[in-house]
Symmetry: C2
Subunit: 363 residues, 2 copies
């Protein structure tokens, strides 16, 4: 095997090595099946067992209440940006409230406008998307069916520490936060996450939706855009992304059996993030974090050096010592270390040590 580097990509992102090894081992032949997970029918018993295990793992990890459905859909978060308003407020005299706290919630609001009335009830753009709103800075609209938020803004590294307290069901993009800590699913109408950060590889999106909301899907929608029809078919109106779902099963097995659940995962993640933020805070201004301290993301740590040239030099030298994909999002530049569940503590320590050394040399 070639040498694996520490991969700080924001998504697709690092996966647990034990999960990759298991997938590799089984890639030619699922035990007892006679064919690969890439080849078996989605209507077969072996695949049924896989998708059911993935769902049951998710239910266990997040304590999903019984009145919620778990779906495995395609198209990523950007598809959900449209499907949510299409299904939830489509054809109704209702609107939707959006809290815009970064690139992804801004994009979600913009896509939602193709489907119905959208109220931006808070916009952090003026402040450079460095924080979430405080209580009292936003109020929901009387005719709003839901209040939308991105739990963690992957690009700006801004995260809710506690869920916003509103009098409407929340709808949230949990793409870069799911499975990183426990969450109270009962507060949500829809909670969803593309898999390629903490749940598996690209190609599947996990949607957790309150059952009574399925009745909101207009009957006129094409089948593949209707939560109601997708849920009635257990995500299998047609062939689902079988391999990606299989990987979600393996990743959630790992969370349950190797890590021991989300309380433990959260503690590990907090400690990893604290290492990097300490390196930033103790650098006498050599490193500047993007987010305001109380909204700092535990998953994505965007930061800058004194000049763009140093940003680049940092990235290049880091790559040489096995720390890859530290560039910030192409829309904002700078640097970003994404330290999802599967990033080992050693990788974070190595990056922290590199930061200290680089600051000493170039500060």
């Amino acid at each position: 095997m070639e040498e694996r580097l520490y991969n700080f990509s924001a998504g697709p992102a690092v996966m647990p090595v034990s999960v990759l090894k298991k997938a590799q081992e089984e890639l030619l032949c699922l035990p007892g099946v006679g064919a690969s997970i890439l080849e078996i029918s989605h209507r077969s018993k072996p695949f049924d067992d896989i998708i059911n295990s993935a769902e049951s793992n998710i239910r266990q990890l997040l304590s999903v209440p019984e009145n919620y459905k778990v779906l495995f859909l395609q198209g990523g978060a950007l598809t959900q940006f449209a499907m949510i308003p299409m299904n939830i407020i489509g054809g109704r005299n209702e609107s939707a409230d959006y809290i815009v706290s970064g690139t992804w919630s801004k994009k979600a609001a913009s896509e939602a406008k193709t489907q119905g009335k959208v109220n931006i009830i808070w916009d952090g753009k003026e402040g450079g998307f460095r924080r979430k709103p405080k209580a009292g800075e936003y109020t929901t609209s009387a005719d709003a069916a839901y209040c939308y938020t991105a739990l963690n803004e992957t690009i700006e590294g801004v995260q809710w520490k506690e869920l916003p307290n509103v009098d409407k069901p929340l709808v949230a993009d949990a793409s870069s936060e799911i499975f990183s800590r426990p969450i109270d699913v009962s507060k949500f109408g829809v909670l969803y996450a593309c898999a390629q950060k903490n749940a598996g590889p690209a190609g599947v999106t996990v949607i957790i939706i309150r059952e009574d909301w399925l009745e909101r899907s207009p009957d006129t929608l094409p089948s593949m855009f209707s939560y109601k029809k997708l849920a009635a078919a257990n995500s299998m109106l047609n062939t689902p992304p079988c391999f990606s779902i299989y990987m979600v099963k393996l990743v959630t097995d790992w969370l349950l059996n190797d890590i021991g659940g989300l309380e433990k995962m959260a503690a590990i993640n907090e400690e990893k993030a604290a290492l990097l933020y300490a390196a930033i805070d103790e650098s006498n201004g050599f490193y500047t974090g993007h987010a305001d301290k109380e909204y700092r993301s535990v998953m994505n740590v965007p930061f800058r050096l004194p000049t763009p040239e140093l940003d680049k030099q940092f990235q290049d030298e880091a790559k040489e010592v096995g720390l890859m994909t530290l560039g910030g999002h192409r829309s904002v530049g700078g640097l970003r270390a994404s330290i999802y569940n599967a990033m080992p503590r050693e990788g974070v320590v190595k990056l922290r040590d590199f930061m200290l050394e680089f600051a000493k040399k170039n500060g």
Copy 2:
């Protein structure tokens, strides 16, 4: 490695063993990259090389004219059933013609009705979906933007031998026929195929669309439903299904380098199919094929035995000798052998021999 069986599944379906082995070998680490294809950013150079190779392989295999775009989308054929009319006739005073020759084209027409005016210009239901229409049995509508057909009906095993000759651009579902033989792409406005039969694993759909048709996408569509926006972003408005695209690259590498192109693949496929149809035709009525002879599919061979009990016994005994997934589609029953590109000739011979022996014992 566990023993692999011969897998006659209609999709997801058998893949070339050499392709699976290559994917297995690289699953922990892509050569020179330091991370798995499951983990690398879709904006990275290594992934760019992969998606570009997949596209260039497809262009080479199908001689795709320069004025066509190749897209890699999610959601399978069922999503295209809606996206095609949504983009091509949506918001226009135009209709779409549908030739209904089996389960999948019927479903496509039904989904299209959610988006605009649909004319069923031929329906093979009365005849039990055993054939395609002959010239003169259908005429296109004056206001139709396209004429839709499924090149090969996977469930009924009914296939066009020559493309229908119409005065409108064709739009076709090539899911269970793509890469099985050469095809004249210039006759199509849109030619598309979900990958999980001849192109790769489930999770990606290949769309080949005439460039001037991109201008038809209404500007009001959500980004992920707009061919225009998806094409402008080279299929990467958001994270694409990276692993499935990587597998399409490997499968098309195999077609080009190991098989030697689609003329050769077609000859191999014809010969394989002839073996099974001969076993049916020479069984003195013990086996009955579904399709009329001149419309028999080279990819899917549905057949029946004299009784449903014998169908079941056949399937059970076949499984015991390593011939798996021979059941017909759940909507029609009977038996079906799907013998896609990657089904080795030995598998077909083994099935043929089993058929002969079973008929002798039970006929």
